[in-house]
Symmetry: C3
Subunit: 165 residues, 3 copies
């Protein structure tokens, strides 16, 4: 493991490293490997799932709000131990990442996503689409999400938002 220095990477290298981070992130979720999910975040991260309308009107309501990796771990424990839900598979397909800023110790990026949900006895369906607004820093020699906002496009709260987006 080599230590990354965001400022010394070329724009193309930064995008490549971000792609790796995002690919690792979505495959951990899609593989149901939820215990690995907090590892993609910094210790004092912020993770939110927000309807687009709220985000654009600066309304504070988030469907999910986690502050710090500890809260991410609590979420996973809750999903595993206290929630009841029919088995389902999630699948993320992400578009081109766009690094919008790289300054100081971090960079900002936006990436469109579509998440599909499949239950055993149904076909696959579009579950949630929107964009990730990420702030990425290097911690412990690796890129991590210091902030990840999942801004989804409907105002409807998904009826079955069990897993992270």
């Amino acid at each position: 493991m080599t230590t990354l220095d965001l400022q010394r990477l070329s724009p193309a290298e930064r995008r490549y490293e971000l792609d790796l981070l995002t690919a690792g992130y979505v495959h951990a979720l899609d593989d149901g490997d939820l215990d690995r999910w907090p590892d993609f975040f910094t210790e004092d991260c912020r993770y939110k799932i927000i309807p687009r309308e709220n985000y654009e009107n600066d309304l504070p309501l988030a469907i999910w709000y986690c502050q710090g990796r500890g809260m991410l771990r609590d979420r996973i424990t809750a999903i595993r131990e206290t929630q009841l839900y029919a088995p389902r598979a999630m699948r993320h397909v992400t578009g081109n990442a766009l690094v919008t800023e790289c300054a100081g110790d971090g960079m900002h990026a936006v990436t469109n996503y579509a998440v599909y949900e499949s239950t055993l006895d149904r076909t696959s369906e579009v579950f949630n689409v929107g964009r990730y607004l990420d702030r990425i820093v290097v911690e412990d020699g690796q890129m991590k999400f210091a902030e990840k906002l999942c801004i989804f496009d409907t105002s409807l709260v998904p009826t079955s938002l069990i897993f992270p987006i």
Copy 2:
């Protein structure tokens, strides 16, 4: 802003620059930032939205046809000032871009896309899928679309094709 020279870029660099162009393009549309849309095109560009069946049979009918950046601007004005429609969010997820040719002053590329539409009181739905057939040149030191054909897969004209694809 440095001047790009398509012929001097490596294939990987060309693909990276194209990814940037496409990412900027789709985020301008998805952010509803329509005034920036014409900026991704050359002054004498051609922009068309065509059903796949027509395209494959060399039929001339396009659902949208714009010749020149001025017509793109007129379209945006029309959308803003004369059209009535329920608020909706569009979201583009694009696949891997494939540069199919790079010769002379430009390059050709194909990129699959899926566009999702979300209205306030509904879930997100697949709106239009197809491929971009792009011809890209450098103008004013930046990659721009000299031609962008959006070939969509159904023969049905989308009932609510309000925004560019």
Copy 3:
């Protein structure tokens, strides 16, 4: 055509070459250019389409199973000459590829995909989503799939699985 040496490529170069392979693969399918499909595989390849549940439980049932490029060609002949189906267009949108291993003569990668189906008189619909689990080697100087597993997320066998995924 230059001969690729996977072990001498940087990780970013490997990912780029894999993107080219995948983009070529999906565009051959989406263009209906089925005769080119076997060319993306090695002579003694393995190609399978498997429901996720079977894959995760090590159940042997595959919806499609082809061993060797000859069987891929037979499949194409069968599709062209013996199967009856309404005309339809397929469209693949793939997410970020993640190379999970590169050792010896090959590399392994995982890529999420969403396939949309459009028939002439319908809108486009989500047809099949899942992930490609690929083993890629260099044969005849080009990257090819030595193994391609298409693990799809539902347990339902698609009612109209006519074309390769």
